[in-house]
Amino acid sequence: MNTPAHNSRYDVRTSPLKTPPRKLREQWQDRLHHKLDSAPAANLWLFAGLAMVVLPHFAYQKFAIMVCCSVLLLWRLLYDLKTTALPPRWLRIVLAFAAFAGVGTLHHTIFGRDAGVSLLLIMLCLKLLEMKKQRDFIVAVSLGYFVVITGFLYSQTMLIAVYMFGTIIVLTTALIASNRLASAWNDMANVRLAGSMLVLAIPMAALLFVLFPRLPTPLWGLPDDAFAGKTGLSDQMSPGQISRLSDDDAVAFRVQFNSPLPRPSQLYWRGPVFSHFDGKTWRHDTTIEIPDTIDNTTADTKHSDSGAYGTLNKQDIVGRDTPVAYSVTLEPHNQRWLFALEMPAVLPANGKFNDAFELLSRQPVKKLVHYEMRSYLDYDLQPQRLSNRHVYLQLPSNIGIKAQELILQLITSIANQQDRDEKIVAAILNYFRQQPFFYTKQPPLLRDDPIDEFLFETRQGFCEHYASAFTFLMRAAGIPARVVTGYQGGEFNTLGDYLIVRQSDAHAWSEVWIAGKGWTRVDPTAVIPPEHVQYQEHLQRFRPSVATTTVDLTWLASTWHNIKLSWDNVNHFWNMWVIGYNNKKQNSFMSWLGLEQFGWQGLAIALFSGLSILVMLVAFHLLYRHRQSSDPVQKAYQRFCRKLESIGVRKSHSEGAAHFAQRVIRQQPELSTPVATITRLYNAIRYSDHDATDKHAENELREAVKGFHPQRLLTGYQSGKNNSNNSFK
């Protein structure tokens, strides 16, 4: 088309009248140095986004740091609302140095997870105080994108991921808003655009997540202080330590059974073992070096179907049934214990045993770990010999005098009988059962002599009181004994077919060594009669059971319970497939795709072909968006255009049919007759006062398009069929 504006001469001559079109680069430069208005919507969106970035860190960072960040953010907000001015340059410099000094003082370093994140947060907020130009705005948004990820250093739950997604949407909205000056675009439109941009990015992100090559060990690990604040069982046990956990609903680990679910009373998840008692606290015996005696090297492949984990020395653990198979997904707890049903038949990869048969990881568990296990439920542990016998008979002096008298009476009454040890155990358990012992979450405080006071005065206690007192009594009777802590029972999630073990399932019990049988588990808490239990909800603690339901739960409570189970199921899935998606899972996914033999090259191939497919999908959508039409006239005309495309003439989507025909004829005069006819028919049907019920013209158009063979016409063949005039306009 040839508007006057396109007349070249006209254009050149009149250009002094207009501002000459600026180069794109200049426009961009201009844009970057463009001063920000003091309170456009974009600034408020940025404020919201950065506030969302900072907010989760209130749970993790030092309070003083968070106060600083809040003050800085508010300062900017007040400036945007035109109440204050921004600080002068010298003050900004002072503030920046003060931030370094402050973080250094609080953390004694400026490196590491906590100090690093603190510094990042403060610097991000400080940046807002010098945000005056578009360029600064872009820097602030980019920093926000970066700093939001630091949340993952503290928590990797799904909720945090969703929250971050929201944060990213708000930040992107800020970016969009800053690039739009038109009033026609309201905030909702910006949010929608940001949201749809992010949604469109999800397939790409998912592809990269699944296929980006993963190393068996990460290039860099989490900082040492990651997960420092996690609660769980500790490396010592004193009265009150486990009852403290009884209110903690956090998940300790989840278990998926590959064989039938054991009876609830068999679900003892063995954890830390304590042998040294100082009268108040049970600890590891520090006098004996705990050697890493048993290792993968003593592997016995009898019950092991892969070399990844070995079995144990047969003389120490004698299994008397087929082991149950299960897999454990353990939440990070910053200690080295790996929890397993007693008694492990195999060692997980990266696991080892010590002298007390604690299953330990080689490194503290700082991230979610997943391991396959087999355990004997019926077993003999060290039945033949007991090394370090004295360790398990150690007693603190000066306490438990009355308890020792009690034992003395007992021993004399059953002296020299057969199975003396077993009889003593039974007698003590009987004592607990028959005397008025109570099980309570809030036992009275024990002062000087925890053993005697508990056994003869208060007689109210939580599992650790019973385990501690029982072990003391056994040792007094000359039976080697120790305290074992761990978890008991769990909740079976029928939705996902797995067992949830929570911190509130923490438990303590005893093991006594009986000649010929070895170490035998005794749970003194379990003998307390039900009527002596003060809290119904803790029924499960002494009547070992896998709590499911629920007869007396109200409708509301059971619904709430189901929601909780569903939510846990979702979290379990998240842990298994997102957090736990590692090198191994990636490999099995690749072998499922049939690409395993290619190794990382296979990943690269899959990654690039996946990306190409995505890009192609988008490209096809863009290309054919304007082409799909159900109108037969449009269809016929599009067919005509495709035919012309085959000889290299392409219609632009904004070109009118008549102009296109003119262009075609200018390029290929041989085609003038049919092109003119088709165009005339098309325009007449589509734009003139055409009777829609009259199909004659429509058929004529279809026929004309059908008989139109541009390639043949160009090579000299004349169809002679289309001889109509070319009087289109």
Partner: protein
């Protein structure tokens, strides 16, 4: 619903007439056929024309030629900073012999008015004319007087950055159906201009090609030019684009949409068609919308080029 007027023969004769008008005018204003056609289309669509250009490129001549060829009476108002509304509209003067006030109509009571350098006058004087343009009547001293038919205003405007101008506000720019630029003539046209007869003499000799009845009739035919659903889809796509795009301060108004439609109809008719094609819309588009749109990135209203680039890229459905 094809009427008798819109029949093929009538359309054909309209084309012959308009072609002859453009050709005749082209003998005086050399090398500006496109602008002449647009000016005629604007007149046929019952709109007013704004010409924005430097002095001396032939704006006045164009206005004069149009009036003469169409057989319309013509007057010129030179807008200056001290122009008063009465200078445009007319004034009542006491006639001693009649013993009463007698109204002396101002230059506005003509069929073609050249409002020269309209942006040099104060807003008060500007509004006097612009009111007449919108209402096709003027109210003077409590009496409403109709303006002649047809009523066609050609405003000329100097580029707004020149000294001593009062730029027309958007609302008043909107009253002009089209805005065109004349530009310098090309080399051959300029040579012909320099060697040929004086334009003023030629202007005197020119014969009208149309009479008023014919003009009014053609204006009636323009209304009957057919616009199909597909075409209206395209037009609406353009309007919607300007409203949704972040590039413009505000989108095109419904009035702008109607203006675009009328101009496209007139243009189609001048090409001898009884229906509008997307190409017609594309042809008139830059001249109809450029003075109604403002870029967000630029404080000046858009040049025809910018419009052409952005709006002509909208897909035709």
């Amino acid at each position: 619903m094809p009427s008798a007027l819109a029949s093929d023969t009538a359309i054909g004769s309209v084309k012959t007439l308009t072609d002859s008008v453009v050709n005749q005018a082209g003998t005086i204003i050399l090398g500006k056929k496109r602008q002449l056609s647009l000016a005629l289309a604007c007149l046929l669509a019952r709109g007013h024309l704004l010409i924005e250009d430097l002095p001396g490129v032939g704006k006045t001549t164009l206005a004069h030629v149009m009036a003469k060829i169409l057989g319309l009476d013509y007057s010129r108002i030179q807008f200056t900073s001290d122009l008063l509304p009465a200078d445009i509209l007319g004034v009542s003067i006491f006639d001693r012999t009649a013993g009463a006030f007698q109204f002396h109509p101002g230059p506005v009571f003509s069929q073609v008015i050249l409002a020269d350098e309209i942006n040099r006058a104060t807003p008060k004087a500007q509004s006097a004319l612009l009111e007449a343009m919108e209402e096709h009547q003027v109210s003077i001293e409590g009496e409403t007087r109709p303006l002649p038919k047809p009523f066609f205003v050609i405003g000329t405007q100097n580029p707004t950055y020149q000294v001593g101008t009062f730029p027309l506000p958007e609302s008043q720019l909107d009253r002009f159906l089209m805005r065109i630029e004349l530009g310098y003539p090309d080399k051959t046209a300029e040579r012909a201009l320099l060697t040929g007869e004086d334009r003023r003499d030629l202007l005197e000799k020119i014969e009208p090609c149309l009479d008023i009845e014919q003009l009014l009739e053609i204006q009636g035919v323009v209304d009957q030019v057919h616009t199909s659903e597909a075409l209206l889809d395209y037009l609406q796509a353009i309007l919607e684009h300007t409203r949704k795009s972040p590039d413009y301060v505000s989108g095109l108004s419904p009035r702008a949409g109607l203006a675009l439609l009328h101009c496209a109809k007139a243009w189609a008719l001048m090409l001898g068609r009884n229906h509008v094609l997307p190409e017609d819309v594309q042809t008139v588009l830059p001249f109809v919308v450029s003075h109604r749109l403002k870029l967000t990135t630029d404080t000046h209203t858009m040049s025809h080029n910018d419009i052409a680039k952005q709006l002509l890229d909208i897909p035709i459905p």
